[in-house]
């Protein structure tokens, strides 16, 4: 049970990563490779500040701000200095590895004895469940602290998701969405594409930095390696989410990102439980993203298989395939 709750919690923390990837890769169509670096930067900044005695909430926000800055640097390399998008991201990601080591002063910082935002989960557990340390849900047993952590992250993830949804319905948010959809039109309508792209990467990497900050506090340490593979992980979540909701409307995509992130984490937990070697995890993740990108195209070549899949997926989706 604690395995299930644990993976749900991590899935919710990493939904912030999925939001960030959704904003850069989908909303403004910028293949931003800063992610691995900015996630670790968020964790490193927050951990160092917490150890230095800063309030954990402030430290978390600082982690988000650090991630956002990294995103803005990547965007600036592209928009001001005309460096290719992929290369801009790679440059910043590579540089961040050293920056993260500098910030932490060593390759990892343990947080187990420190005051973190997870202490709010303890408070919440006492408030909700009194002094019971174990809960009985149906025939399962779960520690009240784990359940409270899950609830806390649910609040954070859905709060951020709702805020994003509201943001994308404003004039500013609408303009941001148009950039990834038709850049030529956005210029003709007076939208400053360079500024908006920079803002999108600022916002996206801010969320990714926050995911790193929360992940470090949840798992009890920040590590300079904690970002490796996170980009592919987030892309997998977003793709999974897109296929679950089956539309391009932004509200659905945001909900899909959460569902994709949680579902993907659950699938991984189950695979590990069944004896998958953790060392193979990144290979499997990459293979999954490859399959998700290639299968839809392959399917169109085999009409019989395609119609079978469409029918199966159609049952899973509430609304019919796009009219």
């Amino acid at each position: 049970m604690s395995l299930l709750i644990g993976s749900l919690t991590i899935g919710l923390i990493l939904s912030l990563l999925a939001y960030g990837i959704l904003i850069s890769f989908r909303v403004v169509a910028f293949e931003d490779l800063t992610v691995d670096g900015s996630l670790a930067l968020g964790g490193a900044t927050t951990a160092s500040l917490i150890v230095g005695g800063v309030h954990p909430v402030l430290a978390t926000l600082a982690g988000a701000a650090a991630g956002a800055t990294a995103g803005a640097v990547t965007a600036t390399l592209h928009t001001r200095f005309d460096i290719n998008r992929l290369l801009s991201g790679i440059l910043v990601m590579t540089a961040l590895y050293s920056v993260n080591l500098r910030i932490m002063g060593k390759s990892n910082i343990p947080l187990l004895t420190q005051r973190t935002v997870m202490d709010y989960a303890d408070g919440l557990a006492t408030f909700l469940f009194g002094d019971r340390s174990m809960l009985h849900v149906a025939s399962w047993q779960a520690s009240s602290r784990d359940v409270a952590s899950l609830l806390l992250m649910l609040v954070v993830s859905s709060g951020v998701g709702l805020a994003l949804f509201a943001f994308f319905r404003t004039n500013f948010g609408l303009a941001l969405q148009a950039i990834g959809d038709n850049t030529r039109m956005t210029r003709a309508l007076g939208i400053n594409v360079e500024f908006m792209t920079t803002f999108a990467l600022f916002l996206g990497n801010g969320l990714i930095g926050m995911a790193g900050a929360l992940l470090a506090q949840y798992q009890g340490f920040a590590d300079v390696q904690m970002g490796i593979g996170m980009l592919v992980w987030g892309v997998a979540s977003v793709i999974l989410g897109e296929s679950l909701v089956g539309t391009k409307k932004i509200g659905y995509l945001i909900a899909g990102a959460v569902m994709g992130s949680v579902l993907f984490r659950l699938l991984v937990a189950i695979a590990l439980r069944w004896g998958l070697n953790p060392n193979d995890l990144k290979l499997i993740t990459a293979a999954f993203v490859f399959a998700a990108l290639v299968l839809p195209k392959m399917l169109t070549r085999f009409p019989a298989l395609n119609s079978f899949v469409q029918r199966t997926v159609g049952v899973l989706r509430k609304e019919p395939a796009d009219a």
């Binding site: 943001f167 319905r169 404003t170 004039n171 500013f172 948010g173 609408l174 303009a175 969405q177 148009a178 959809d181 038709n182 030529r184 039109m185 956005t186 210029r187 003709a188 309508l189 007076g190 939208i191 400053n192 594409v193 391009k248 009219a323």
Partner: protein
């Protein structure tokens, strides 16, 4: 209104592919005037339009619009004054966003986009009326993605979007060339309607001699980066498509003469 002085633009300068697209273009367009630009392929007519729109900066010369010198303004800043419709019907609208969202984007063209709700109830109703007035029966499909519409419908909506906030200058870049004849007629009808209603100053590039002869109050013909004919007033009113075709033939003959003359000189002196 629009004053172009000595516009020059060379692409790929200093390479074998050098193209002198504009070689000193002077043009004054008065407020409320509707000018058609014609010319052969490569004559510089689209370059002229794009240099006014700000797709690139000119090498030399000055662009004044509405009394402002916009020569060094970036494209998005010029959008405050200029409404545009492109040749490709898919260029002017965002396909996965709804009709209403596209119109909402256009209704703050060149304005500050803040954090107020883009599609409030009243705004939605107002946009609905504008769409209904076009008579395309799209007013009940405002919440459908625009990518589900036909090229003609999308081009009509792009036109509506370009004129939604009355622009100082409307730029139409062969905006019916990629449409089937029926859709093209419809878009032309709407173009005339919008221009007449709002007295829009318009610069329209076209391949159709029919359109150039029947629309607008002035025709300019370009060749090799220069304006070679400027027809307005009574002469424009009497203009028939055949007259324009005859002028095209003159241009072609002159160009051929130039080439054979060059060939002759090369044979003699090289």
């Amino acid at each position: 209104m629009l004053n172009l002085t000595g516009l020059r633009k060379t692409f790929f300068a200093g390479t074998p592919n050098e193209v002198r697209a504009l070689q000193g273009v002077d043009l004054n367009i008065e407020a409320g005037s509707f000018v058609c630009v014609i010319g052969t392929n490569g004559s510089g007519k689209s370059t002229l339009l794009n240099s006014v729109a700000g797709a690139f900066y000119v090498d030399d010369g000055q662009i004044q619009l509405d009394g402002k010198d916009i020569t060094r303004w970036p494209e998005h800043r010029r959008a405050k004054l200029i409404g545009r419709v492109f040749q490709d019907p898919f260029s002017g609208t965002a396909p996965s966003m709804t009709i209403a969202e596209n119109l909402a984007l256009a209704s703050s063209r060149g304005r500050r986009r803040g954090l107020s709700l883009a599609l409030k109830g009243a705004r939605h109703g107002e946009l609905r009326d504008r769409v209904a007035a076009m008579g395309l029966n799209l007013e009940d499909r405002l919440d459908n993605p625009i990518g589900t519409l036909s090229g003609g419908q999308r081009q009509s909506l792009t036109l509506l979007m370009a004129g939604l906030l009355r622009p100082s200058l409307l730029l139409l870049d062969e905006h019916t060339a990629a449409l089937d004849p029926r859709s093209a007629d419809q878009v032309i009808r709407l173009t005339q309607e919008f221009i007449n209603r709002d007295k829009l100053t318009t610069l329209m590039v076209t391949h159709s001699m029919q359109q150039a002869a029947s629309l607008g109050d002035r025709v300019i013909m370009m060749d090799r980066g220069r304006i070679i004919h400027d027809i307005s007033g009574v002469e424009k009113d009497r203009l028939r498509p055949e007259d324009l075709l005859a002028r095209f033939d003159d241009v072609r003959r002159a160009n051929q003469l130039d080439e054979s003359a060059a060939e002759m000189l090369r044979a003699q002196y090289v």
